[in-house]
Symmetry: C2
Subunit: 768 residues, 2 copies
């Protein structure tokens, strides 16, 4: 359902406009290909002369590489090339900027092929190319590495402890933005300060302070990472890969290989899920080096174990949250101490975690300390609102406990303290028009919340969460066909139906249907620079580029109509898909037929780097039943709410809300990297890494709240991420409501919850 | 060599500008892929589930199809579908316009799959798709067609004779532009009139009137026609093919299949030659229908015999030319009667032949009668300056004979009568600035002409020729990379190095090198409408689009520089690759790095439908030696001259001149469709169809004459075609000079020349 808040007409500037296309639910353009198996994913690529690669990976979580002997592998029949970190050259202290701040080149390269040390189990050490995959895999086993194993650290607590093994000898802690001489595993410590937390807590009648731990979890996309590379004789490198950002792959690979970006062409294949995990490059530079050595196209595809052990999961974390409120329900102070695991290389996502931890609340006094900590696990990557879910689990648990202590409805407490337009976040950003109040009002008014939950061992929980979304850069071009349809070229790989949500925005401008737009996702040679598909930015930013490119088309077609009518182009108006001047009128399709005779074809183009990013708020109401015998948590009912801004394609907004909720549920209840003492993931299969399946879940009901983003021509906010933020917190609160236990550790899996229930039963006071 | 005419500085507006990129000879961007075998041509495509097709072709030159029984073929194991004309539906009298005038849909469809009658040997009758090519080929043999053979006509004389067999019952002659009730094989008769030919001939002191015949010849591209089609479940049709025009294939196939153009996506593969022959569609609709029936991608590839018998050769013709001159060398009147073979369906290329026949001369009194005649041969297609070579052979032979009779140098006669700016052609067009005088002056001044030819059986001939070139429509888009290179997307398939000649024009505007442009030829979904690669238009028109798209980039980058410098965009100038305002300056590459920070990426776009097309004149000097025993003509020396306008990439201009010359030599000396009485081509292999090889030819020397086209920003004229026009005429004149024989029939092959020499020896007066 779509909830229209009472204040909707006031706030939703664009709601007063009746859209013809936006808000409808056309069939996605790539749908048939995807349901019939015709769509080509990364591993589907085949090229003349293709050979196959395999990767040697570290068996140790932390070990020095004393020597590598590749001779036996190279001597194998069918082996065509072997590469190691030596083929990447010396990075020195070189810093590079790929558009989102400086990065250390040696870290980028080191994660692709380990240099000097392996920093996690599964860390790539060498690559082999051979005529067949089986030969390549066998050859990998014949590479002799002399290892010097070192003690490993796999949590922030271990890594920050005095005398802990150090991953990077040269890593100096950046303290409050400044370089220091301090070494160790803390890459950075930063602080957000707002008001005076001490004074705030002094005013508080109720203070709750709790510590929380969250496990490393993986995005769990279905399609493993893959890369096929052809380093051509003319020096040009072509890459085919499944990625969230073809230009990111281009620019990162070029940096790692030290070649100009224009020497690299990346063709994005269809992508079987990413969620943030398919932004870094892992295989592309190795495939490229193997191709350079062999002159052949080389394909590398990960196994599921590789995906778990050697791509970027999201950080585990240790968080301490303290909040204080007055008896009238006003939250007056908040503090958070947040340490996130970066994995083997900086950075973790503690910065966005810190930006989001208290972002839902209008609190005068806040202090947040953030710590970016390297540990002997795979280098972390983004995962849907990265960093925010860990933080919201902590903050929303504490808010719930405050509500309980104050005896007020948890939604009322949140409404009373809700961030709104003008609220300044801990990181200093002042909110523009946002929709949290409307989300909370929709939650309170929803039949789910209005229906009492009855029965033993059952409980209801609520939580909210925030994600700021990003803008970055997008390009789009449009050409008008003689039959009045348009072809649209964009650079955003389509993960969640964005071909359609972008096409709809062009269609809306031009007064044609979504089906009359033919969207294509182009390679990096064939479209303007477009940043990653991530940060909930594609429908927002690339859609905006489509809007602008369509406007560019309209402007040119006005000139054509003016030629036909012998009037000035300024005298031609365009509305509702029709060009008009005086008594003359021509529909878009009619004028499209006359382009050849009025000067030739019409194409439009636009690039955007938008500033008006609108954050999105999500909320959950969840009812659970906890089996008293097994502590298995069964979800009885789950309703997801989200402020989408204008919902361009409601089905895909709902899909994002449902998908994010399910991932949040998995994170909350079951998923975790189960690490052995040796720093080895003990459950690196989808059988043992317990993601929720359809059988584990009820229907995820959705409620879209449309509070227009004033910073976008159609009011779009971006909806891909916020939905993953509240579920663990909402589940923790529901479990508390059902069992009396406040869980402080994710996942809240049956063994862990059982232990907590037993602990509460044996000592009810201590557990509170 | 490049000849700079004396008047060059006056006429060549742009010559005063020193170009940085234009006029240089960078390595072509597609070169490495093409010489290493990496480039993918049409037949290289492979798709998951691909099946193969074969075509049943008519064994008769003219026969009624009484019935077709496909049951035995369909019953074969492995056969998945059979299609015939019945699958194309009834076309009725529907006329369609694909951008170059109305065409009869039934003719378009009929040439793809014969309906009712087969009109030439090789005419496609049915298509079969099967799991393997061998099964498909075997199944074709099992299709039972009941034929009723009809008498065939294979020359215009036969087809225009009283009581001739009629190909199309409903074909009514269009007489001087008007529909008539007259039926037969003459599709159209038109006339160009200028001045009063009767009065002109009355003034003439010398009149020469001769008849000429030219044989059907084939373009002889190396790569046979091919098409792979996938008619997807969502109704979209994808085609991969080697073509001169992806949008032409799209639009033609859509018309034949009666689906919207936007339902068809054509991906142009690399093309192994076209020369005009790869503009029509033959296989694409059949592959599409087979794919629709099977749900599988279907590939069809022609054999060499198919290429000869069932694609479009250039028309054979019968031409009568009469010219009169006064004793002082002024040509005062000219008449031509031209009948061209259209092949099985109208139209032949008699219209451009008529436009060109006297275009080299400034003659006050002209009459040209043109006849478009259907015959039982494959439907003709364009071949490099289509129609003009036949015409020039006739006209240049007559001009040579007039010079001989007047006792003047043949170049002087041509110079005296040369068309120039302001000359009005027979078809009414007034020439803008053209370069024929400069070409003739260069020929006269050339060492080749200045060096006497000595020895027995040797002779020298000269001739000139004209081609008007075309403009049509082109699109181009550009995106600026952060390393200061650009990616350029165009819709013109690259036959002769146009990726580079287009890229150079963008590079010239932007002040970067040709190598810093990365050109891509896109599919029809990914670039604006672009007309065919033909008519010598690509470097002219698509290059112009590239020029304009680069200007669009410059305009936007001025705004970015203005942001950086805090000045008005109007105050920023761009010259020599550098943006400047006051003391500020940034090179293009430097500013390219700063686009992200100043508003995001920059892309440019342009479409053109240019009017300022500049015609091109070509001239040849050729020395031959005719073996008195065998009448084999050996070419001793051959120099090709051409007015290229600005030669963007001189190597490719020279390549076009050499290639066109060689094709004209083959046409003049050896190539012909040798037709049996039954209308069957008796020499449908490259062994028997005698194209010149490197061993048959001397080095073709070239001399580029640059008379700028004032209608193009860089003065480009287009160079692909004119070079094929003069060779047969020049060779005929050289043979006459060597032997005394005036050949009136092409090819001037040894048997035919031997007979002519014997005839001359037995009756010297009659032969004159």
């Amino acid at each position: 359902m779509t909830h229209k808040p009472d204040s909707y007409e006031h706030n939703m500037v664009l709601a007063q406009k009746q859209f013809r296309v936006l808000g409808t639910r056309p069939i996605r353009h790539d749908g048939v290909d995807k349901v019939t198996g015709r769509a080509l994913y990364g591993a589907d690529i085949d090229l003349s002369g293709l050979i196959h690669g395999a990767i040697l990976r570290s068996p140790h979580a932390h070990a020095r590489i004393v020597s590598i002997d590749t001779s036996a592998a190279e001597a194998m029949e069918g082996v065509l090339a072997v590469v190691t970190a030596a083929d990447l050259g010396d990075s020195g202290d070189k810093m590079i900027d790929l558009g989102e701040g400086e990065q250390n080149l040696s870290f980028l390269r080191g994660n692709v092929l380990a240099s000097g040390k392996a920093l996690y189990k599964g860390h790539a050490v060498a690559g082999v190319a051979a005529a067949s995959l089986h030969v390549a895999q066998e050859a990998v086993k014949r590479i002799r590495v002399e290892w010097e194993p070192l003690p490993a650290v796999t949590t922030t607590q271990q890594a920050m402890a005095d005398g802990a093994p150090v991953l990077h000898d040269g890593l100096r802690t950046k303290e409050l933005g400044k370089e220091t001489d301090q070494t160790g595993n803390v890459a950075a410590h930063f602080r957000y300060d707002k008001g005076s937390p001490d004074e705030g807590f002094a005013q508080a009648d109720v203070i709750v302070e709790r510590s929380f731990d969250t496990a490393t979890v993986h995005q769990g996309y279905i399609e493993p990472q893959n890369a096929t590379a052809l380093w051509n004789n003319d020096g040009r490198l072509q890459i085919w890969t499944s990625t969230q950002g073809s230009f990111v792959v281009r620019d990162t690979t070029a940096a790692i290989l030290d070649i100009p970006v224009s020497q690299v062409k990346v063709t994005p294949m269809e992508i079987g899920g990413g969620f943030g995990g398919k932004i870094p490059v892992y295989l592309e530079p190795v495939a490229a080096l193997l191709s350079k050595k062999t002159g052949r196209p080389v394909k590398l595809v990960m196994s599921r174990q590789d995906v778990f052990e050697a791509t970027g999961p999201t950080p585990g974390s240790h968080i301490r949250v303290k909040m204080g409120a007055t008896n009238d329900g006003r939250i007056v102070a908040a503090e958070a101490w947040m340490a996130y695991e970066a994995g083997a290389y900086p950075e973790s996502f503690v910065v966005p975690g810190a930006m989001c931890v208290f972002a839902c609340y209008d609190i005068d006094n806040i202090r947040v300390d953030g710590f970016d900590v390297v540990v002997n696990k795979p280098s972390t990557a983004a995962y849907r609102a990265p960093g925010a879910t860990n933080a919201a689990f902590a903050a929303e648990s504490v808010v719930d406990e405050i509500a309980e202590k104050l005896g007020v409805d948890p939604l009322d407490l949140r409404l009373k303290n809700a961030a709104k337009e003008g609220t300044r976040r801990a990181d200093g950003v002042k909110f523009p028009r946002i929709g949290l109040v409307e989300v909370l009002e929709a939650m309170k008014a929803h039949p789910h919340y209005q229906t009492p939950l009855e029965g033993p061992h059952r409980g209801r929980g609520v939580a909210v969460g925030f994600w700021f979304n990003v803008g970055l850069e997008s390009s789009c071009s449009i050409s008008v066909n003689s039959d009045g349809t348009i072809s649209l070229v964009e650079g955003s790989t389509d993960i969640g139906g964005t071909r359609t949500s972008i096409a709809m925005q062009a269609a809306e401008v031009l007064g044609i249907s979504a089906e009359e737009v033919r969207p294509s996702v182009a390679d990096t040679d064939s479209v303007g620079y477009t940043s990653v598909t991530g940060g909930s930015r594609v429908t927002f930013a690339t859609g905006w580029a489509a809007h602008n490119a369509a406007q560019d088309v309209v402007a040119q077609m006005k000139e054509r109509a003016a030629i036909l009518w012998g009037v000035d182009a300024g005298a031609v108006e365009f509305a509702d898909g029709t060009f008009r001047s005086g008594d003359n009128s021509l529909a878009f399709k009619e004028l499209a037929k006359k382009l050849s005779e009025t000067g030739g074809p019409v194409t439009g183009r636009a690039t955007v780097h938008p500033k008006g990013v609108g954050g999105s708020f999500a909320g959950n109401i969840v009812d659970v039943e906890v089996d008293p015998e097994t502590a298995k948590t069964k979800i009885l009912r789950f309703t997801a709410f989200q402020d989408a801004g204008k919902a361009i394609h409601p089905s895909y907004v709902e899909g994002q809300m449902q998908g994010g909720s399910v991932q949040g549920i998995g994170w909350g209840l079951n998923e975790e990297y189960f690490m052995t003492d040796q720093g080895v993931m003990a459950n690196s299969t989808l059988l043992d890494y317990r993601m929720p399946t359809a059988l584990d879940l009820p229907m995820i009901d959705t409620c879209i709240i449309e509070v227009a983003n004033p910073g976008h021509p159609f009011g779009v906010r971006g909806v891909g991420e916020a939905s993953i933020v509240p579920p663990p917190g909402a589940l923790a609160n529901a479990i508390h409501n059902a069992t009396g236990v406040r869980m402080s550790r994710l996942p809240m899996s049956p063994p862990r919850l059982m232990e907590a229930i037993w602990a509460l039963e044996s000592n009810p006071i201590a557990a509170d």
